[in-house]
């Protein structure tokens, strides 16, 4: 059924997340951006919202609520409306946990899911992106060679979120025996694995409140038991679609933040004797923001709905990601323009959102739904 109506529970969650985003994330976003760090206390505060644990089955210590990509994109939009970097940091554990939940063997679930149902924040991350130009998940340069029952991993990863504190990494690598999605394998690699070097914190244009690192894998040996999904491997198509959908939801949140900041500014700021919002040149920029925030959100919901139905959401997620990347960049760009010189000054958050929008548009594997 085609329907745009969130359930009552989803409305409640949405509202709670919006309040949290405004009170807990927006207020510290600038500080985290300037210091390129996220306070442990904040991660703990987010942890207590139960974002990761809620959808983990009770048998592994979670709340056992239905795994819902739709609810998750609603949450992500709201958190990102507060701050995109902190929203991503908040849900890093889900990157690992959801992958185990969706694709892991029973042993993997029993072994790893309880890590995420405790009282303190637990970081484990996904290592998907790789350094160098033209990153393409279908052409991973990190290789997985079979060796005995297990595999040997070699290559480099970058933009691994919270890699500075993650206990485990889910490393995506190309099993050269196959091409395309079928050739993508996931491996659970503990932080202290032999041959794994964790790099210094990366210095990025945007999302600076989200610490990221690079990984170097020098013939890291992985046991068969730590191959995601076991012998049959896992559905990489679904993981990639979930990652793109979630990333798009974050872009919707950033875009809405820009729009809602630009509106009161344009009404207050006067030029030539009246509010600049009364000039069509400005009013139309704001209208376009409103139009595109809606359009982006529906694309995200469509992809999330397909995921929720267990359908192949590859196309919907791909189109959503491309569309949201372009339009969120345009909205952030115009947000700076509406604020004029003030859009360039770090006293206002718009310049940060401008950097964040550019950054989000090229990321994959930083968030999931």
């Amino acid at each position: 059924m085609i329907s745009f109506g969130p359930t009552e529970e989803q409305e409640v969650v949405r509202e709670a997340m919006r309040d949290f985003a405004e009170e807990a994330l927006r207020t510290v976003a600038r500080e985290c951006d300037e210091s390129a760090s996220v306070p442990d206390a904040l991660l703990q505060q987010v942890w207590e919202l139960g974002l990761t644990a809620t959808q983990i089955p009770e048998e592994f210590g979670g709340a056992g609520e239905e795994r819902s990509p739709v609810t998750n994109v609603l949450v992500l939009e709201e958190l990102a409306y507060g701050d995109a970097a902190l929203a991503l940091a908040a849900v890093v554990p889900s990157l690992f946990a959801n992958a185990i939940l969706d694709h892991g063997t029973e042993e993997q679930k029993a072994k790893y899911l309880p890590l995420f149902t405790g009282e303190s924040f637990h970081a484990a991350s996904l290592a998907m992106v790789e350094p160098g130009p033209l990153f393409d998940v279908l052409n991973l340069r990190t290789k997985a060679e079979p060796k005995g029952d297990g595999f040997v991993l070699s290559g480099q990863k970058s933009l691994v979120p919270l890699g500075d504190r993650a206990s485990h990494f889910l490393v995506l690598a190309h099993n050269t025996a196959q091409e395309g999605f079928a050739g993508i394998e996931g491996f659970i690699v503990p932080r202290d694995a032999r041959g794994l070097t964790i790099g210094e914190p990366e210095k990025n244009l945007g999302l600076r409140g989200l610490p990221t690192v690079g990984l170097t894998l020098d013939r890291v040996e992985v046991a068969a038991a730590d191959r995601l999904g076991g012998e049959k491997g896992f559905d990489a198509r679904r993981l990639v679609a979930a990652s793109r959908t979630a990333l798009s939801a974050v872009m919707v949140g950033v875009s809405r933040a820009v729009m809602e900041y630009a509106i009161p500014y344009a009404k207050d700021r006067e030029a030539f004797g009246e509010a600049i919002a009364k000039k069509q040149a400005i009013a139309f920029m704001l209208s376009d923001m409103r139009i595109e925030v809606d359009a982006m959100r529906w694309l995200v919901w469509k992809a999330a709905s397909q995921l929720e139905h267990g359908l192949d959401a590859t196309r919907a997620a791909h189109l959503a990601r491309g569309y949201c990347a372009r339009e969120s960049m345009k909205i952030a760009d115009n947000g700076v323009q509406v604020l004029g010189g003030h859009g360039f000054i770090r006293e206002h958050p718009v310049e940060m959102w401008y950097r964040n929008a550019r950054t989000l548009g090229v990321l994959e594997g930083s968030v999931t739904c």
Binding site: I2, F181, A277, S287, A295, K302, L319, R326
Partner: protein, 392 residues
């Protein structure tokens, strides 16, 4: 719940409509090139298909709402061809106005007729408050006397009557505008010509004049003769009919744009390009990247249409969302069809294919039922909480 997956029942209807629509496509070029002719009200192929409304029998509670389905149906039909229909429905835009604003007596008297809607004049389009056509009450005979000229009247030739916007008092601005029901054959009412257009050529778009055209006093739509003072409440009532027609015209344009996308994708695939959605966009050839971008625009616009319709189906206010869908649809169809020609190069402009026709047909989408600029004004006023006076 939030859900974007059509049910089996939904899908069956959508598939049937698409199959039907394809039958219309073979006549598309003919009626494009024979502008003076009218496509038949019913095609021979129609007899093999059940009437569209009969497809809605046996709907279940978890099926998509009729409001949303009607948008998908419009898009599906126009994906075949905009101007050729298997069966041409009787109603026109004027019928929507009648249903929205007519008194019960007017509705029962006029609902059986195909009614066109005449708003635009040679000197006024987007700002209908500038309507120059006048209506003067002749108390002696209890008749309205209508004088003026109307253009761009959709179904103006085929219709049996027309809802005409005329002013009782030009100095009263928008508040002075009323709608009048005028039957074909009324003395002084003449359809002067069928317009020659860039696209949707087989569609019947007429110009008409009213010279001392006399109609009964009871033909004022809604029956309220007084001019409201400051408020323009009556006018707002008239504008309400746009809340479904705006998403609907966007859906029509998007159906055509989808045909253009499908054709372009097939041509690219035929030329050996792989169109797939798994890998990163950056590693695709430029034409495939472009196609993906256009597909995204199409999808996004279609979803804004479905959202506006869904709200209406739920009985929720949707005037801003209707404008969003119209603004987004209007720009998306332009970008999509222009882009498809760009992708295919010289082949795209050949009249051996329908792409060049689709490019012409969709251009009206961003103009009629309120231009994209008008929609953006409506959206901006809502966003900024401004009145018409504060933002115009």
């Amino acid at each position: 719940m939030i859900d974007f997956v059509p049910t089996e029942n939904d899908q069956k209807i959508l598939d049937t409509v698409r199959r039907e629509a394809l039958a219309c496509r073979k006549y598309a070029r003919y009626y494009d090139e024979h502008e003076e002719e009218f496509a038949p009200d019913e095609l021979e192929e129609a007899k093999d298909f059940p009437p569209t409304m009969s497809l809605f029998a046996g709907r279940k509670e978890d099926d998509t709402s009729v409001a949303v389905m009607s948008m998908l149906l419009s898009a599906g039909q126009c994906w075949g061809d905009y101007t050729v229909r298997m069966r041409r429905g009787k109603g026109g835009l004027g019928n929507a106005a009648l249903r929205a604003a007519g008194t019960p007596e007017q509705v029962s008297k006029w609902e059986g007729l195909t009614l066109a809607m005449a708003i635009t004049e040679p000197g006024c389009g987007s700002d209908p408050s500038q309507v120059q056509t006048t209506a003067v009450l002749d108390e002696a005979t209890d008749e309205w006397v209508i004088n003026g000229e109307k253009i761009f009247v959709t179904t103006g030739c085929r219709c049996e009557g027309v809802v005409v916007w005329a002013t009782l008092d030009r100095s009263a601005g928008r508040a002075g505008i009323k709608s009048f029901l005028i039957e074909k054959g009324a003395p002084g009412f003449e359809v002067t010509h069928k317009e020659k257009k860039l696209g949707i050529r087989a569609d019947d778009t007429a110009a008409m004049v009213f010279r001392d055209c006399r109609i009964p006093r009871g033909n004022l739509l809604g029956g309220k003769e007084e001019i409201p003072k400051e408020s323009s409440g009556g006018f707002r009532g008239v504008m309400k009919t746009f809340n479904m027609t705006r998403p609907a015209v966007a859906a029509i344009g998007l159906g055509i744009a989808e045909a253009a996308l499908d054709f372009t994708r097939e041509q690219l695939q035929g030329a050996g390009f792989v169109v797939e959605y798994g890998g990163s966009l950056q590693s695709q050839p430029a034409v495939v990247q472009k196609l993906h971008e256009l597909e995204g625009k199409f999808e996004a616009a279609m979803l804004t249409v479905l959202n506006a319709a869904w709200l209406s189906g739920e009985g929720k206010p949707n005037n801003v969302e209707a404008s969003i869908s119209k603004a987004k649809g209007g720009s998306a169809v332009r970008e999509v069809t222009q882009g498809c020609i760009e992708i295919l190069g010289p082949m795209g402009i050949s009249r051996d294919h329908l792409l060049e026709k689709w490019f012409r047909d969709v251009r009206i989408t961003d103009i009629y039922e309120g231009t994209g600029e008008i929609q953006r004004m409506i959206i901006a006023r809502d966003l900024l909480d401004y009145t018409r006076k504060e933002l115009n």
